[in-house]
């Protein structure tokens, strides 16, 4: 539901059903609401069958990349004797995204249950849930929920009497966007700087502590118990457009809308419905100018591109952007696109781990060139310079942070070039002081 707003008729409320309901936070409350049935069911099934079921459901990663979850699990080696790990990525920090936070705050046992099912399937005895340091309230709620899950035997040496050991360790981040990248997260858990690692080896071969590891997003894992209890076919049926996008997806809508919040929809729902019906559309007298559909790392879409766009992995790609994390940042006609894009690049410059030259230098210089333009001292050739920088930042680094910085710059110049030109021509008043 559109927490903090009441559920909208166009939503399909599954993961968000208990947002705003503190009763769902306790173990007893979760059991009353049908909780832990999925885990009990999974523990009674052969591991391969659980993985097959998740594969059949069509569930794909909700953290940004959209990789098929069951397939990811199937990459884990079987019975080779090494310890395996599951890492739950709760380092939500992609600008525009605030869905995992609500899952952790309102349905902590759904997260734990999803983690436990995944851990059982991939033969992991230890789960690390990596929660960003700034999420103080989710941390407290999760701490309590984990204690309760142990006390009731859902976790521990003999989870629900199955003979399977499932331990959960909460690991607190300390302020670094890059730790949401899976290999950086593994380094952070190991007590290191959060520098991403070169792949291969992939985490399923050599992940955290050098052991086979699977990393899944909070929302992905929260969907798993529903697949176990209601079946793969039912989940697969939740699809309105592309058959490759199934289930429900939480979209965090923020920026210039009347009702910002989280809305859960069936994959393939029209994007227009999300923005204009569920989130209430623009403020009075304003019109939609642009939006970023999947967190700040994906290309900007114009208002025209929103028309006819289906909210699923393929539908958004067809309009030139990506579903990403589902963080929708809405900008109305009052928005200064150049200044907004500069603020994104400043984010990436700040968050670069500085390991790769293209990223360390590229994010910083992109930001400086945009500051030059915004201070009224831009040159016509600066736009080509920005595009050249973006080219050097795309597909050339260990992780995709620099690609993410380039995305709004390239799409911004392509789609809103006249605003850049206006600053450069002196037709728009500088908004930053000359440095």
């Amino acid at each position: 539901m559109g927490y903090p707003h009441p559920s909208h008729p166009k939503e399909t409320v599954l993961l968000s059903k208990y947002f705003g309901d503190p009763g769902a936070r306790t173990y007893a409350g979760w059991i009353e609401r049908g909780g832990y049935e999925g885990l009990r069911k999974a523990l009674a099934m052969p591991r391969a069958e659980v993985i097959e079921m998740v594969k059949q459901s069509g569930l794909r990663g909700r953290g940004g990349a959209g990789f098929p979850t069951g397939l990811k699990w199937s990459f884990m080696p079987k019975d080779e004797g090494k310890p395996h790990y599951l890492v739950c990525n709760a380092d939500e920090s992609e600008p525009g995204t605030f869905k995992d936070r609500e899952l952790l705050r309102w349905t902590p046992h759904a997260v734990i249950e999803g983690c436990a099912i995944a851990a059982y399937s991939i033969q992991a005895q230890t789960i690390y849930i990596y929660i960003r340091g700034e999420f103080t309230e989710p941390w407290r709620i999760m701490t309590k929920a984990v204690e309760e899950a142990y006390a009731h035997g859902a976790l521990g040496a003999d989870a629900f009497g199955s003979g399977t050991r499932i331990d959960v360790v909460l690991h607190r981040g300390a302020g670094a966007y890059i730790c949401g990248e899976e290999t950086a997260m593994m380094n952070s858990i190991e007590g290191k700087r959060g520098n991403p690692r070169i792949k291969p080896p992939f985490p399923a071969q050599a992940g955290v502590f050098g052991m086979p590891t699977t990393i899944n997003n909070v929302e992905t894992l929260s969907a798993v118990p529903h697949i176990l209890t209601r079946g793969a076919e039912w989940y697969k049926g939740l699809s309105l457009s592309s058959p490759k996008s199934t289930g429900t997806k939480l979209f965090s809508v923020c920026g210039h809308v009347q009702r910002p919040g989280n809305y859960e929809v069936t994959m393939g729902t029209p994007m227009r419905d999300l923005i204009f019906d569920m989130a209430g559309g623009m403020r009075p007298g304003r019109t939609l100018k642009a939006l970023i559909p999947g967190g700040s790392s994906v290309p900007i879409m114009t208002a025209a591109e929103v028309e006819g766009c289906a909210l699923d992995y393929e539908g958004i790609v067809a309009k030139g952007s990506m579903l990403g994390s589902g963080g929708v940042i809405v900008m109305d006609d009052s928005t200064d696109m150049v200044r907004t894009i500069w603020r994104y690049t400043r984010f990436y410059a700040h968050e670069s781990c500085a390991q790769c030259t293209q990223c360390r230098e590229g994010t910083a210089w992109t930001t400086k060139v945009l500051e030059r333009i915004l201070s009224g001292r831009g040159k016509q050739e600066d736009l080509q310079l920005l595009l050249d920088l973006a080219d050097n930042m795309t597909g050339k680094t260990i992780c995709v942070l620099s690609d993410s910085c380039a995305a709004p710059v390239v799409s911004g110049i392509q789609k809103f070039r006249e605003e850049f030109d206006a600053y450069i021509a002196g037709a728009r008043r500088p908004v930053l002081a000359a440095v």
């Binding site: 670094a176 190991e190 210039h256 940042i329």
Partner: protein
């Protein structure tokens, strides 16, 4: 002597051990949760900051000694993460999100109000009465509730310039 005393030049004259007694036992309980001691570095640093308010050079050395890594390694990790303080801060630490989504919804005005009302004056500065230090941070992950701020461990949503005096009054 309860605190490491920072001199004007940043050197520290004394260091009372942090990982003794109960805190040491807490840390050792964590060792069982990870296959290496080094993995306890982030939790150990959180414990230092909770105990002392910031992480001094001798504290880094002590953490290194307990976990079996060099002080330089610890320093590298401390300085990578923005939430660890490498110098003393005010009694209350304010973090204000000004990343784009919040920026679209007035975060910079909220930031200015906080700098003014807290007495910090500028980003990263501590108010003359030692009560507040305020910094600007990147995305706090609550973009639908602009502007979110963290005061110590209190996560406060929907902060507007008008609400700032009332919010700060609760922190003495």
């Amino acid at each position: 002597m309860s605190h490491a005393a920072a001199q004007g030049d940043g050197t520290v004259t004394s260091h009372e051990k942090i990982f003794t007694g109960e805190r040491r036992a807490q840390l050792e309980a964590l060792f069982a949760k990870y296959p290496t001691r080094q993995a306890c570095l982030l939790p150990a640093l959180w414990m230092v900051q909770e105990a002392r308010g910031w992480i001094s050079e001798p504290a880094m050395a002590e953490v290194g000694e307990v976990l079996g890594v060099t002080p330089a390694f610890v320093r590298g990790v401390v300085t990578f993460y923005t939430m660890y303080h490498t110098h003393p801060v005010g009694r209350h630490f304010i973090q204000v999100c000004t990343t784009s989504p919040c920026g679209l919804c007035g975060a910079e005005e909220t930031m200015q109000a906080i700098l003014r009302e807290s007495g910090c004056g500028e980003l990263g500065a501590t108010s003359p009465d030692g009560r507040f230090t305020a910094i600007e941070v990147e995305c706090l992950g609550a973009c639908g509730f602009a502007t979110p701020i963290l005061v110590d461990d209190d996560f406060i949503e929907g902060v507007t310039p008008e609400r700032v005096p009332g919010i700060l009054a609760a922190y003495k």
